[in-house]
Symmetry: C2
Subunit: 322 residues, 2 copies
Amino acid sequence: MKVVTTQSIKTQNVTKEAPIPNLKAGEVLIKVKAIGVNHVDLAKTLNSDDSSDEVLGLEVSGNIVDLNQCTNDFQIGQRVAALLDNSGYAEYVAVSEDRLISLPNNISYEQGAAIPESFLTAYQALFYIGHLRQNASVLIHAGASGVGSAATQLAKNLKNATVFTTSSKAKTTITTENGSDYAIDYSTENFESKIKQLTNQTGVDLILDFIGADYFNQNINTLAVDGQLVLIGNLGGDIVSNVNLLDIMFKRLTVSGTLLSTRSDDYKSQLIFDFTNDCFNLLEEGDLSPQLSQSFKLSEAFEAIKFMKNKQNTGKIILITE
Amino acid sequence: MKVVTTQSIKTQNVTKEAPIPNLKAGEVLIKVKAIGVNHVDLAKTLNSDDSSDEVLGLEVSGNIVDLNQCTNDFQIGQRVAALLDNSGYAEYVAVSEDRLISLPNNISYEQGAAIPESFLTAYQALFYIGHLRQNASVLIHAGASGVGSAATQLAKNLKNATVFTTSSKAKTTITTENGSDYAIDYSTENFESKIKQLTNQTGVDLILDFIGADYFNQNINTLAVDGQLVLIGNLGGDIVSNVNLLDIMFKRLTVSGTLLSTRSDDYKSQLIFDFTNDCFNLLEEGDLSPQLSQSFKLSEAFEAIKFMKNKQNTGKIILITE
């Protein structure tokens, strides 16, 4: 079968031959239809020290074509997406049945491949870490990004939250379509003063932040009493100068950092189980809808990565097997 | 009855006459035997802008001498401690029955008056905020302080935790008597390197911190993956320069600030209910033992406050009614 490794994509824009993987107990074999492209893939190809033979790719969709001693109710032929540790840029993928998300028929393979990383990251941040309550308020930065779009849709559909988003002016349409109640254009509006004005100076219960240092103190100021800031990215830097701990104490705030990729297998299994319970019907009814950008063939992975590097995408970039 | 107000203690070291308070529905009248002196009391007497007639005092012990439409099972004559919003420096106190902690007979009134602020603050920080798990590890700064001593005893008795404490060399005996497994002398040992060495570089699951800025980055470095820092004091300053958010994200840390005094009545009631359920038997069996320092008469409140200001105490300073 054809695969793309960190090394192969650096030296030449071609795929490489590799054997179809054997299944361990509890694994299924997926005939891959579509693959999600992630920033981690880009980072690996940019890292000059990394010339490993590891096959890239953290998420795929496709059909189950084989099972080995599986105990869940998956069947040959079933349409699924999967959260992987690696090896998604391939025509076949072997993966634990605990990593599978069943896809309703209305969800295309391209949409399916855009679900695992964005929706599981958003679900984890909102509910496992942020404990978002029914009818609470949440500010989602980078609201038109993959995780930002997923978080907006999840917060509206599962908790009827009041959602504030930040994005560029051009993308406020996307954030509003996702369900954002207040789409803030960060280029012309200060989110802190805007939200204080909109909430009668109360602030928001939860903030999902991908920006990091540049927004940190404004985020603290924008939180309501007992509010929580969940850090899931550092696009605006890592180092904050002058953090006032009294603000954190007096407002009884919580600041949490989280990552999905480094979590244990058990944690990821539970997350996928809970996400599927809460969201399969919402996907089936069209209430959750992954944002898609451009699609490329697997053999064009180099162009896909370049497309991401140039920040040409608004939704998920997808690779399609031929 | 005699009381001490912010104003009366400033102008003269005498008590003031005030009427015995009337009971609202759901309140009990306590004949006060002992009163705990807190830093908040000192702060009010030092604040030159504050010359109010408010009676000082956040915690007392004594006997119930009257009840008005109470629904819990309290009786006239019962020995109790109480968490107050104010008005504890008095011979009688009216307080909601939801603020009462029953005292076993082996606990003296002086010990009883030392329970509410220290033990409820420690209980809240360890369990409500810090979610301390069975057999987990916890670092308690200012381990010989009232809250630090209470936290050490609670963490050992309720969760069999491995407890690390910091204190001055002279107070390591107290921290060890409280149950600390590793009493670190902050004047000669670096707690970060000491704990990394003792935990095989893993770090601790939870830190209770009263120091704030001076310890912040060392605290972050001392936490294990998925660890939590609970901020309950700022003795070492408020402003941290250079906080690295990547450390918080990569180790998936949580930083929480909390205060007891500003919490809602419902929150305090629930806290007292849970504390009593978990701890009455431990108090009765002598497993929890409030640290006492000097006792003064209520009419000597000025000397008691001065004693605290001069940092002469290691345990709780107590006022006794005559």
